[in-house]
């Protein structure tokens, strides 16, 4: 098994000139600065020789004090080893530019687009450097830079002028102030690129094709995102995807809130799986502080996260059933009813049904109440029988199989290459689960299986979801047997100012591998928080999957990926 120091020495011996500042944080975390001219070669070397076949994401960081910007590429592995390597590429702040990795890793596309539109870092060789989360007027203002003064600046509200466009829409323009005109800093030239509409319509080739919106305003999407499909009759020729309709700017907001307040913002990223998001953030900060979480608190965290996983799967599958069966379909309402029981359990511990803000640095907020054990043990046999009934229902329904089998199939190699996450990956046959790969808390002591599928189609994804729920119940029962008594929060005092450093912490969110990269510069607020969301990765893979299917199947495929656009937009 490789570990981080071996990887570091291997890279250093292969590229002695380009690599510097190597730091091994633990057996499976590695930080190294790579020269920007050599980053592609280093990545290729790592993929070919060292087994790093998983490009997990990239983050942009603005080090304004050092007058440079950094792009941190996160490389991991699909089960060959557990090392996560963070490769930092530095570039000067005046004209930041970094080679693009898109031709080597297909899923680097969206990460680089986002870093470009937020920081202004140019990625050389990226085929479509267009805005992803931001709207067109905001391109060029580079919102996540440290010297960003608001759009267009802090006097935006007073300066807005309402204009009605020729089509009848209302827009706001911001005329430049006299000071700006005098100083000559009025931005007249925004970067030129075709708008989303123009890019779509460039693909229309004949009169019988039309672009249909399964778009932001639609009766039945789980969150706002723009999915346009180019259809001819009933067949989809091409799909177009745009995000950013629920972009709240959480990563930037967290830079202006203290460490403790940041916990409440992580809740709101994926509100259905709020506890895993909390855990990711608190775990990263605990790594920064070097805190040890008491054993009882670890068990409580695992119990609640698994409960959260069950209820997230229930609503994900239930919502998906409405997409292919209509709202009158009875079993999805049964799923919502069962979810009520789980949410009541979670509510009895945390006090809230949805946005819990429950995990704290070094422990949890509340202890398990009296009688929690009995309540759980009453609910679980019922849940198990219901989940088995659902599995049986889907297995014996021919219409379900006509709608779901061989729809959106992905082979394991394709799944690894396009970088989807979570159940989509596991249904394709890749046994990649963060609870085994990067075990946190008490997962090493628990016994559970990783549920994989065989065909990678929609039916397998739903089947994996249901079986994972059974595994979660099994995990919680083990935890309830083993949980010790003790403190629920660490005795050490959490300082207001966290010492300088960086940490990357990975969690198995119900939707897949979630990672949070937290940088502290010694202050009382985070310097940078980067969230590597699982649905962001899975969402990227939607557009190629939708080519050549029927419209009804497009909905089946998009729905079976169980999305939370709020999490991908942050």
């Amino acid at each position: 098994m490789t570990n981080a120091s071996e990887v570091l020495s291997s890279i250093q011996s292969a590229f002695p000139a380009a690599v510097s500042d190597g730091k091994v944080e633990s057996d499976d975390r590695l930080w190294v600065t790579v020269d920007s001219k050599k980053i592609r070669d280093v990545c290729k070397y790592m993929t070919d020789k060292l087994g790093f076949d998983h490009y997990a994401g990239s983050a942009g960081v603005d080090w304004i004090a050092r007058n440079e910007m950094e792009v941190v590429e996160i490389m991991a592995s699909y089960g060959i080893h557990n090392v996560v390597a963070m490769l930092k590429v530095k570039t000067p702040r005046d004209n930041p530019s970094v080679p693009s990795l898109v031709d080597m890793y297909w899923n680097a596309n969206w990460y680089e687009r986002e870093t470009w539109e937020m920081f202004g870092i140019n990625f050389e060789g990226h085929p479509e450097l267009y805005p992803l989360l931001l709207s067109d007027p905001l391109v060029g203002v580079w919102p996540w830079r440290k010297d960003f003064k608001g759009y267009p600046d802090l006097t935006t509200g007073e300066r807005a002028v309402q204009i009605t466009t020729p089509e009848g829409y209302t827009e706001y323009r911001f005329p430049p102030t006299p000071a700006e005109i005098e100083a000559g800093t009025v931005v007249t030239e925004r970067p030129k690129y075709p708008t989303f509409r123009e890019r779509e319509e460039a693909h229309i080739k004949s009169d019988s094709e039309m672009i249909m919106h399964l778009g932001p305003q639609h009766a039945m999407v789980p969150g706002p995102f723009l999915l346009d499909i180019l259809v001819e009759g009933e067949r989809v020729k091409k799909a177009f995807l745009d995000l950013g309709y629920i972009h709240k700017g959480i990563e930037k907001i967290m830079e202006n809130r203290s460490w403790l307040q940041g916990i409440t913002y992580t809740d709101r990223m994926c509100y259905v799986a709020a506890l895993s998001n909390n855990e990711c953030y608190c775990g990263a900060v605990e790594r920064l502080l070097g805190l040890e979480v008491p054993l009882r608190a670890q068990y409580i965290r695992v119990i609640l996260e698994e409960l959260s996983r069950i209820q997230s799967h229930l609503i994900g599958t239930g919502e998906f059933l409405t997409l292919i069966a209509g709202v009158g379909f009875a079993p999805w309402q049964y799923m919502i009813m069962d979810r009520e029981k789980i949410i009541s359990l979670i509510e009895s511990v945390t006090g809230a049904r949805l946005t819990h803000s429950f995990v704290r640095f070094g422990g949890v907020r509340n202890d398990l109440p009296e009688g929690f054990d009995e309540q759980c043990r009453k609910v679980f046999p019922y849940m198990k029988s219901r989940i088995e009934e659902f599995i049986e229902l889907f297995a014996q329904d021919p219409i379900y199989h006509a709608r779901m089998e061989n729809i959106g199939s992905i082979s394991p190699e394709t799944a690894k290459r396009i970088g989807c996450a979570g159940r989509v990956l596991r249904a394709a046959g890749v046994p990649y689960d963060m609870r085994i790969e990067d075990p946190i808390l008490v997962y090493p002591e628990l016994d559970f299986k990783v549920v994989t599928g065989t065909r990678g189609d929609s039916a397998d994804r739903i089947d994996c979801t249901l079986r994972e729920m059974l595994e979660s119940i099994h995990i919680i029962e083990q935890c309830l047997d083993k949980i010790p008594s003790g403190p629920i929060k660490t005795e050490a005092k959490i300082p207001k100012k966290i010492p300088a450093g960086e940490a990357y912490y990975r969690v198995e969110d119900p939707r897949g591998e979630m990672g949070m990269y937290v940088i502290s510069d010694g202050g009382d607020k985070p310097y940078r928080v980067k969230v590597r969301g699982p649905f962001y990765a899975t969402f990227q893979t939607l557009t190629p999957l939708l080519e050549g299917v029927y419209i009804a199947d497009a909905v089946a495929i998009a729905g079976s990926m169980d999305g939370c656009p709020s999490e991908s937009d942050r």
Partner: protein, 350 residues
Amino acid sequence: MDGIIDTITQFAAQEPAIFALIIGIIGAAVLSAVVNVGAMLVIWADRKVMSDFCNRFGPNRVGGRWGILQLGADAIKLFTKEDVIPAGVDKGVYVWAPIIASAGTMLVAAAIPFGALHIGGKNYPLVVANMDISAFYVEAALSIMSIAVFMAGYSSNNKYSILGAFRGIARMIAYEVPMGVCVISVAVMAHSLNLVEIVESQTVWYAFAQPLGFVIFMIALVTDLGRVPFDQSEAEEEIICGYSTEYSGIRWGLLYFQEYNNFLLGSILVSLLFLGGWHGPIIPIPLLDMVSPMIWLLMKVIIVIWFIILIRAALFRLRIDQVTDLGWKWMLPLSILNLGWAVIVGSYFA
């Protein structure tokens, strides 16, 4: 009272044409009111029965614990909405589509017997137009709804509507033929196309005499009505509301109602054709014995409606190409097989 009857009979003698016209208009109004109120009750039953399958209450506020006036409240709300005709629609077609839908339903209702009155040992069927070809006519008139669907979808200047319209036509064409063949099979066994005579001749219910025909007709009926699992052309999650996306207010209300009107009339048709219509033992109580055939028909219709609602709560929706596959590759050959069976059995028992 006598004076009024005298005036009316005098008037009828003098101006027979106008009298017939007035009676016709009054009758049409009464029939339309009865059928539409029936549709409202069917919508209420749809919501209530489906929520029963899902552990919910359904409407339970308006009109007491059972929410029976919920649909009245909905209708009032729809009438008071602003009449919005989107820019860019084909105005004539857009406005006429719900009217054609309602007209089609009334054409069906004119020929369906709603039961019979058992007076003095003989059954007097309650039907407006006792045609000799009423079974065939009813089955054909049920498909006027598809024209209205296409008009609504085509005129709406909306991509979702046009898809709904195309899917509606595809589904209708695929299922009209098996449905028609099943009706012919029943008529072959009954030796008549008149619905009243078909009912009268059912000593053994045709559901047992031609089980395959019954199953095929039920499936074709559910498709004809546009209910799950065959509702690709409307109310769905891919194309919002399908052909009625651009409709609002009472125009949409009319389209929606006519779907349920057809539901009601289709269920009555099934009961008449396959389930023995109004046959059943006569209740010996003095007033009830007169209406007891109607009560039996009502019970059968309620069971059919309940069953079709159960199908909605139980099954997934098919894809449109699977629907047309099912129609042309399975239903049509099986219905022709059933026709052969009916001919053999019918002529054996001639």
